[in-house]
């Protein structure tokens, strides 16, 4: 639940940042790259290559945008290869005198398009493509004989410009993401606390009711004894005492605020047995991990069978750690435990101890 609501909030922030990148890239491509291409057609070494490169950038940008906004990322490298190839085509087509002008548009525009394609990838992938761009453009500068300090300085400025804004936008988007996720998580945590509090209050109410019922029943036994109506030697009366004592003990032993589903199931079995007059002790130690329903059923089912066949008394013990749960019952009764359908990682062990039966189910995290 936490991850779900956090996802809803962060998605809204992410979507805005994505729209910003897409809008900037489209505006840049139409308002800057297109006039630069058309206005210099007669001066490029191969005008066709530059027009083709403009079309490739446009197509890759469009496909990348569709993938990004529909959250269906496809393989990035073919698109990157196309972009880098188109980048190289424009660099090769620009004559030396146009090299550091708007006419040589591709290496400056590349950053926004790569950002669209690599939105969901780590920043280092983005930086790697920019490094390739920087290498290609440096090669072009040197090939055109522009190895002097001024040209290298200009080159560095353009390279810086290809990534700085994009990185700032991405970093801002991620900071917003993190803040939004944290806000959503604390809201969810608060909701979980509220739910737990409500469950605890409900449990408290139910226990109060049980206590009143046990108190009335135990009180009746004690009153019978005190007023001489009951004979302490009477087996029937002794049995009533034992039963009420065990019900009280079980109530006291329930220290959990929010009941674990496995304990809840076992207590229900114990209650059923108790209604037949069977004395059941139920003790639990450790923290029970969240278990799949099938595992929980496999752990509880043999115990339920034993408790259903118990004659007079049973002790149920539950022990949990992060990776194991052992549920056991020692009871007097005659029952052949039918091992349940093999659930992931649950083993059943039975040991007959001369009239008393010891059955244990144990789960280990696989």
């Amino acid at each position: 639940m936490a991850s779900h609501s956090a996802a809803v909030v962060t998605e809204r922030y992410t979507r805005s940042a994505q729209l910003a990148v897409v809008t900037i890239a489209a505006a840049w491509h139409l308002a800057m790259d297109l006039p630069a291409t058309i206005g210099n057609l007669d001066r490029f070494r191969s005008p066709g290559a530059v027009v083709a490169a403009w079309a490739i950038f446009g197509a890759v940008g469009a496909l990348g945008t569709v993938r990004l906004l529909r959250a269906r990322p496809g393989p990035a490298w073919p698109l990157l290869a196309l972009l880098v190839a188109a980048d190289a085509m424009v660099l090769a087509a620009a004559p030396p005198d146009l090299f550091f002008t708007a006419a040589n548009w591709a290496w400056g525009a590349l950053g926004w398009f790569v950002m669209i394609v690599l939105w969901h990838r780590p920043i280092r992938d983005f930086l790697a493509v920019l490094a390739v761009n920087a290498g290609l453009s440096l090669g072009a500068v040197l090939a055109a004989g522009g190895g002097n300090r001024v040209d290298l300085g200009r080159w560095a400025m353009v390279v810086y410009g290809t990534g700085a804004l994009q990185l700032a936008l991405k970093a801002g988007a991620e900071a917003l993401n993190t803040a939004a996720a944290q806000a959503a998580e604390s809201a969810t945590a608060l909701a979980a606390v509220d739910a737990e509090r409500a469950a605890a209050a409900e449990l408290h109410r139910a226990r109060g009711e049980r206590y009143r019922s046990i108190r009335a029943a135990a009180g009746a036994v004690l009153a019978d004894l005190a007023e001489g109506r009951g004979d302490p030697a009477d087996p029937q009366l002794r049995r009533r005492c034992t039963l009420e004592a065990s019900r009280l003990r079980r109530l006291i032993a329930e220290a959990d605020d929010v009941p674990d589903p496995l304990l809840h199931e076992l207590r229900a079995c114990a209650d059923l047995a108790e209604r037949r007059g069977v004395v059941v002790d139920l003790v639990s130690v450790g923290q029970l991990p969240d278990l799949p329903v099938a595992v929980r059923r496999a752990l509880a089912e043999p115990l339920a069978q034993v408790l259903a066949a118990t004659r007079t008394g049973a002790r149920v013990a539950v022990a949990g750690t992060a990776d194991t749960v052992a549920v056991s019952v020692v009871a007097d009764g005659d029952v052949t435990v039918l091992a349940p359908a093999e659930a992931a990682g649950v083993t059943v062990t039975c040991q007959d101890e001369g009239g008393r039966l010891w059955v244990e189910t144990r789960w280990r995290r696989g």
């Binding site: 003790v283 130690v285 450790g286 923290q287 022990a319 949990g320 020692v330 062990t349 008393r356 010891w358």
Partner: protein, 225 residues
């Protein structure tokens, strides 16, 4: 000590604020001629003043958990066996950390009371199933590292009816089961606040060759290791 059988009996004190419980415990102990109840009542100081080898103490006295008294008396060397209706590991472990030598839940009394008091008087460990369960359920960082066999013996003992059953399940002797369980108890004497009662338990464990002296320093806690 003298050769007189009566003089060498273990002097036991019982503290509980319910007279009927005091009588019940007294009747459990009276069947064993190694033990002698010399004082009982609801006032800890009065019972301790009678000079007892082992104090059987109800954890909940007059509506209050008397953990602080357990710590004080243990620090003064008084061996205390605590019994209570509480079975939550946190409570049981807090009692053991305070220096009590053993812990019994009230429904374990009949079966384990005499053995526990006899063991306590000799500074030997006695782990009733509730205490075994508390060790298994221990999630604190400073809990000692137990071996797999020790954990298994504690778990089965916590679940089971007797050590013979545990021995059969583990395919080892009853004596070895007791050793595993007792070794776990001795490891717990190394953590929490130091007390003469814990030191006595460790010293006796070495004497009995339950642990070796050089092992004692090696017991790492979970936090350390």
């Amino acid at each position: 000590m003298g050769g007189d059988a009566v003089a060498s009996r273990v002097r036991v004190g019982i503290v509980d604020d319910h007279p009927v419980v005091v009588e019940g415990v007294r009747s459990w102990l009276s069947g064993d001629d190694r033990l002698e109840v010399v004082a009982a009542g609801d006032d800890v100081d009065a019972v301790v003043a009678a000079g007892v080898d082992v104090l059987l103490l109800d954890l909940n006295l007059h509506g209050r958990l008397v953990l602080d008294r357990i710590a004080d008396l243990s620090a003064a060397g008084q061996r205390i066996v605590v019994y209570s209706q509480h079975t939550e590991p946190e409570v049981v472990l807090a009692v053991v950390d305070s220096g009590a030598v053993a812990y019994l839940s009230k429904d374990e009394g009949r079966e384990h009371c005499v053995s526990t008091v006899v063991a306590a008087a000799a500074d030997r460990p006695y782990v009733a199933p509730t205490l075994a369960g508390a060790f298994i359920g221990d999630r604190r960082n400073q809990r000692p590292l137990l071996s797999d066999k020790e954990r298994e013996a504690l778990l089965l003992w916590f679940q089971s009816m007797n050590k013979a059953s545990v021995a059969r399940r583990m395919g080892i002797s009853e004596h070895t089961v007791k050793q595993y369980v007792d070794r776990a108890r001795v490891k717990y004497a190394r953590i929490g606040r130091p007390a003469p009662t814990k030191a006595a338990l460790l010293a006796r464990a070495i004497e009995d060759r339950l642990v070796r002296a050089d092992e004692i320093g090696e017991y790492r806690s979970h936090a350390a290791g």
